[in-house]
Symmetry: C3
């Protein structure tokens, strides 16, 4: 999202909207195209979403996961990718635990690369589907205040949304315990808060992040109970929110931790719309790349 | 099978037969349909059979296994399924270690669900392919005596076959050591025997179950040697059987345990026919669900 | 490769060349064909190459890996294969850790079997793609001297190339430490050397093998440093080579072990051409088998 321009974003979202309104339009345009999913981290929803998007376009998917990959035999990532490229796939989608891995590949390969999440860096297709969902619910993005709550420091979702939403004219406030907000976040021109209750009334959009207990080396907040008390989104906290606020979450949900079940399943929630939009946003991106080749 | 009516069963078997007689008929009817295989237990034959059935219909398969699933991140089964549904698949096939999991999903999703085996509860597509195989071999199901031998208590195959075959007019006798026959089996109106030799002569169909050593918490029969002696199907035991008996097994085989190799590979065996019929039965079911949407 | 005739090889290579020159030709010929990848060893490149070849032909792939396979439940390989065959796939591709496993299956099944690597025995599609790459680079195979360097004893790639290249009229020299060259290699009518520097000048083609540390039960050469010194291919060693020598490697590369990065990425290297040719060679083989059924 750091590299995409506002017109890039607009054209992706416009095409995604078109796919959403004319679902499963029969086409043979991509019937001989091959998309490789190269996933070095486990993933259900992102991999499935890309795979469904690929197949709905009529193209083929090849799944390569780290457990089946030659990298376990000591091959470098670049060699793995160059080998894949030598088989002439049309697009390579990569998820990697190292920030910058997709960028490195884009420098050495001619094949179009899609970043499906890299370390703590970016998750651009998540930001695109989030923007589509906001635009759908609110009719616009520009001028909205988006509140992102949780572990900002380790969230590629937060980072991509900050880059993307700001380009589209939204104002961002991040909210979380001081240990989970990176010290240099001010450089990104976002508001910062350490109390959800304090800022919830300002938000047009509340984006809750998943507490990823498995990703943290050590406990960076006092206790789960205390986290829920100050940063969990409950019906009670929502009372102070705008009447037309929408609630988002990239999933998977920790019900009862960062978000109460009543909120996740409540009327303000657009969480499942995000998932639905994920498929069409990825269809848009894949079809643009399969038609045009590398975008730079 | 508990919920399917006799006409439902008849129409599935009729369509399966049609697919068997006109294999690989070219069609574009399902070329934009997506079938998700959501498997929480390892499986070769059932998953492959569904995948081949899906692809032979011209539709696409997406495989999600427990190891790659977000449920390892603490997401609930219902959230995983609702997320999948939000991607608009046409059918979700689920295998789960918990009895009732597919039923729960069918209550919260609009997408058609196929139960590919749930805990010790049911494995309905296995029963359907078994019924097709019996009908093919014997020309009818009604009036036949089907002997099911082995670990009745832990067998979803046994349970689905009991429900299904009784609806089709067959008489069922279950046979196994007392510890492997549930105490309340009488409620299902089946005959019970604790000696294979005693009942083998009555059977038109002998359905051997796999001894699933990996599934039992503790040894529920004295020893493997003793099990083989009393409940293993050998050529010697078969001497007392009807001349036109057929031998079935859901696989995978434990050769030399519940079934002797000479029997599994012998002239009465229809074990590989069961596998072949599994594909067309699943094609029938999938094509009915992809055409009609949810069956209730 | 031991069983293929020279005309067989020529016709496979001719068809592969045709696929290479007319990439992604649209066809519906194989749209209802199903290819099973039955892999008992992990593999990225071979499995992906077969899968891409299958899909580029318009056919469907089903992946079965050892971890998902019923063989973990104690089923025999032959039973697993017979069950797959009962589902009527058009081709079964097998990789197995036991030498001879594909041969055994070819004796009991009617379905065409492709050996994708069996133990220390053969890896015939690798030899075919190597031959295609040599012919492409040198205009011929007959009369060339091919130097194969490394762990000859445990290399199915070496064995298949020896069989195949000799049939096509090439002269083979194998080179490696005495412990990694099988004592009976002389029966195959190859030259033997224990010093890369001694023979490098004779080679038209240098085929470096991967040092597969994970496959050896014990260290069969003094030390990695010593191995590199005597058998690693460096720019320095290459100075003594012919000016038009080509460098091959089946991958994955151990950069800095059997091959220096400058050599792998240098002008003589045709390593990525091998990967590209792997797809079209497999397309050729698959299309011949899907058209003709079993070749014997």
């Amino acid at each position: 999202m750091h590299d995409l321009s506002r017109p890039d974003i607009l054209s992706i979202l416009a095409l995604a909207k078109k796919f959403k309104n004319t679902p499963k339009a029969p086409t043979q345009a991509f019937s001989h195209k091959t998309v490789v999913n190269l996933f070095f981290e486990p993933s259900t929803r992102t991999r499935s979403s890309f795979e469904i998007a690929t197949k709905r376009l009529g193209a083929s998917s090849i799944n390569i996961t780290s457990s089946s990959s030659s990298t376990i035999k000591g091959e470098t990532l670049i060699d793995t990718a160059k080998n894949l490229e030598a088989m002439n796939p049309d697009v390579i989608i990569i998820r990697h635990f190292s920030s910058g891995a997709p960028y490195v590949l884009s420098q050495v390969l001619k094949t179009p690369i899609i970043n499906a999440g890299d370390g703590f860096h970016e998750h651009p297709t998540q930001a695109l589907l989030d923007m589509m969902t906001i635009e759908e619910a609110k009719g616009k993005i520009s001028g909205l205040t988006v509140l992102i709550v949780g572990d900002i420091a380790h969230s590629r979702v937060a980072r991509s949304n900050i880059y993307g939403l700001q380009k589209m004219g939204a104002k961002i406030i991040v909210c979380g315990p001081p240990t989970l907000i990176p010290p240099d976040i001010q450089k990104l021109h976002v508001g910062v808060s350490h109390s959800l209750k304090e800022v919830v009334s300002k938000a047009d959009v509340i984006m809750m992040l998943r507490i990823q207990e498995e990703r943290q080396d050590r406990i960076q907040f006092p206790s789960k109970r205390e986290y829920i008390k100050y940063f969990g989104l409950t019906l009670d906290t929502l009372k102070q929110a705008k009447k037309d606020v929408i609630i988002m979450h990239p999933g998977p949900l920790n019900r009862g931790v960062e978000i109460a079940s009543e909120v996740a399943d409540g009327p303000y929630s657009v969480i499942l719309n995000q998932v639905t939009n994920g498929v069409v946003v990825r269809m848009a991106l894949l079809s643009m790349l399969m038609k045009a080749g590398k975008i730079e």
